[in-house]
Symmetry: C2
Subunit: 496 residues, 2 copies
């Protein structure tokens, strides 16, 4: 069988970038999964200091190669050096943060539950609750974060900290960069005397190498950041295995912003500018891009909401997004715009832009139609947003309920306690992983309290997060030891 | 449409128990889901004291009706008054334990993550991580625990403590008892001024009312204890919804016991008696019944293992299990025995028993065949076990690996640290939620460190437990509040 050839392209011009690369063969995918299972045996028993040393060394390797990596990433993705340097900083920060957690022993936390004399239900044997790493993880890189949700991104960092090995599927949108980053890893592993199979890269189509990897019996979990369609397909693969495994998919999200009448009237111009910047940032290629703006039109507030819409339209028209990541995404954006207009949204901005860089798109619809038409609630990946005009707070709550699942909801103007604001907060918390009360949802802090994941379609596992400290929990399964011998208890939560 | 009629039977005689009951209609299922969604609004905002008061009052209602409940349960299930009184104690204990957790404020735990000045990745806004209850939960009662995993069982208790409302599907194996227990609830709710829709019961076939309930848009999660086939079917229903929801299924488990040569030689008779008692207990109708006994036959140990098998066969032959829960389960047991023999297991005990109460079944197979034939690794629900003879520790580890997922693994004789014992512990922890080093896996303590759930097929969500304090976590989804206003922070984790 001839191996498929994969060609990367320069995002700004569409020209080929570098020579074609060979797709990973089925046998090579299997070999990577088996090597990851072999590496898992020793890595799962490694101590926190060893895990911290690897993660820190990987962070340093990224930083040492910064100039070349950023230049290459910029050519391949058009995201620009400022953003890409910032993203590399964030990626190194993430690696070091999980290094710190491993060093502090968080993967080895133990809950001691001493024996209680007597019969059940009160009496019980000596029990200890600790956690074991799941096993080799299949990691699917995202298009839109070539560093932070890719080869050495958050999923890899949190899985390694937990004691898992990883096989990473490169994203076709930054194949050359992914190979360059992956090329830094063997040297780091070798210096530490760690097996090469601990972290490996595969490439090719998702339906080909991706499905084969996720179906391999040695793989114990999947982690994915990408589209709802792609994530749902992989979730089905994980479920269809003879032994289904956890699949952590971070999928689409429309991130509603509810701007209440008071703040719209008082600060409309400022909010319009902030929102326009957030929507166009990175050409709108963020899972937290604000895709739905909800305004509440009581009789007295309609006029100031109309003014806000004008200001917002003007502010967004003034944004000049850069090229999208790939021609496919650029085409999907146009298709999404047509789809939304066909579904009844009234376009407020409709210039097309260039073949690589779209013009921002803005449309408006009333809440009744938004609630009635599911097509209007689908994520439109790129610099686009839909204003939804509700007649009342109750209708705005129905809009949130129709969205159903989102990474974020932003509530502007809920500073004072009231029945209305409590209802809004309840409605927002019921559908989102993160609720913001100021600022914009783009920019996801890597911190202790972060929750990046919410009800479907924003996540396949809404109880988990793919950003922040709790991301490590996805890869550690609780195990209870009953009447454990002294030698095992002396390991203090460290797997054998 | 005429409603289906449901008839319950006396387990010991097969005679009808009581008059036929009407199956819940589709409209009534929908009404129960909608009433649960209505009740969720206030219940999710209730404080810990209110939740504790309800859970404690339910425990007391069970205890106050103890004599009649146990008598009825005994007639319907044949489990016997000693076991049933113990199970009622455990059920009340569970309710009060979750009451205490609610009262201590555990559902409202808050992680405060104050703002850090400066740009990303180090700087970030003020963030707070807390949890919200998922919403109305569809609860599927188990056949084998008419109190503890049924109407007011652990799933209901943990969901209510978390702030969720529940719609419970009664199990056909104890329909009259389920109605009697459910009949205690409205009075308790009314006295506390709580809506009747907070806890309701439906009944009928799983493919009928069960699927309709789990598919209802108002339902936010499912919880199930039962067979692998039934659980897998319901998991598929939860996944096929327009908006998939978490489904917590506790399915089949074979619970391997690895008895190492040293302890077999030293204490064979005692272990044989213990094991036989555990297998026949409750007619083997426990998800933690030891279904696979692994012996390691080195040249020097084969003889004492053979002696143990003889002792064990005799001990098990002496057990007289009571009637099974239903005629269907009794027939499934015989079918499973035939299936196992057809797959190559050599029967050591093969009397059939009566039409209601089976005789214990014991068979033996070598590890090579056990590993090769998936049929031998399926749970046989009832008083049965399969001895697997391995030639080496390595082969015993392959046996565990072939089992793949189990609620428990028991390791007898691993008291001393050694490479072999470390490998065994690793092999056990890789596939199980609980690893025991003495005693038998039947008897699942309701305590802080318990983990009742492991890799597929023992759970659909191996990171969660359906017994013990962490069971409440299944119904609480993390939410991050960013720049939350003072009035909201003052609620200290209490939903609006």
């Amino acid at each position: 069988m001839t191996l498929k050839k994969l060609q990367s392209f320069k995002a700004r011009t569409g020209e080929p970038l570098g020579a074609p690369l060979l797709a990973t063969s089925a046998e090579q995918v299997d070999a990577a999964a088996i090597a990851a299972a072999d590496a898992f045996v020793s890595w799962s028993a490694s101590n926190g200091a060893t895990r911290a040393a690897l993660l820190s060394a990987l962070a340093k390797a990224l930083e040492d190669d910064r100039d070349d990596l950023v230049a290459l990433a910029d050519e391949e993705t058009a995201l620009g050096p400022i953003r890409l340097n910032g993203e590399l900083d964030r990626t190194a920060f993430q690696l070091r943060r999980f290094a710190d957690m491993a060093e502090r022993g968080e993967p080895f936390d133990v809950l001691n539950d001493p024996a209680v004399a007597g019969g059940p239900p009160v009496g019980h044997p000596a029990m200890v609750r600790q956690r074991v790493p799941l096993g080799p993880v299949a990691m699917f890189s995202a298009s839109n974060f070539p560093f932070a949700f890719s080869v050495l991104g958050g999923d890899t960092a949190s899985a390694l900290a937990a004691g898992c090995s990883v096989v990473i599927k490169a994203h076709s949108g930054h194949l050359v960069l992914s190979n360059r980053v992956a090329g830094l890893i063997p040297e780091v592993l070798k210096k530490m005397g760690l097996p090469a199979g601990l972290i490996s890269l595969i490439q090719g189509s998702g339906t080909d190498v991706g499905v084969r990897l996720l179906s391999h019996p040695a793989i114990a979990a999947g982690a994915f950041t990408g589209s709802t369609r792609g994530g749902a397909a992989l979730q089905a693969v994980a479920n269809a295995r003879p032994r289904p495994i956890p699949f952590y998919g971070e999928l689409g999200s429309v991130n509603p912003v509810v701007a209440l009448p008071g703040i719209v009237a008082a600060k409309g111009a400022e909010l319009a500018a902030t929102l326009a910047g957030s929507i166009a940032l990175g050409c709108g290629q963020f899972c937290t891009s604000p895709g739905v703006i909800v305004l509440i039109d009581s009789a007295t507030d309609k006029a100031s909401n109309d003014t806000f819409v004008e200001l917002f339209t003007t502010a967004l028209a003034g944004q000049k997004p850069h090229a999208m990541l790939t021609p496919g995404m650029r085409q999907a954006f146009d298709a999404g715009v047509h789809h939304m207009v066909a579904a009844g949204a009234q376009a407020l901005l409709q210039e097309v832009g260039t073949a690589e860089a779209p013009h921002p798109f803005l449309a408006q619809v009333d809440a009744v139609n938004f609630i009635a038409r599911a097509e209007l609630r689908e994520e439109l990946f790129g610099p686009a947003s839909l204003i939804v005009r509700a007649d009342s707070l109750a209708e705005a709550l129905e809009v949130l309920s129709a969205v159903g699942g989102s990474l974020t909801v932003t509530l502007w103007g809920a500073e004072q306690e009231s029945d209305d604001n409590r209802a809004l907060v309840r409605g927002a918390m019921n559908i989102a992983g993160r609720v913001l009360f100021s600022g914009v949802p783009t920019g996801v802090a890597v911190t202790a309290a972060q929750q990046h994941g919410g009800p479907w379609p924003s996540s396949t596992q809404p109880m988990t997060t793919s950003v922040g400290d709790a991301a490590m929990d996805r890869f550690l399964r609780p195990v209870c030891l009953q009447d454990a011998p002294a030698w095992l208890l002396a390991r203090q939560g460290q797997p054998c």
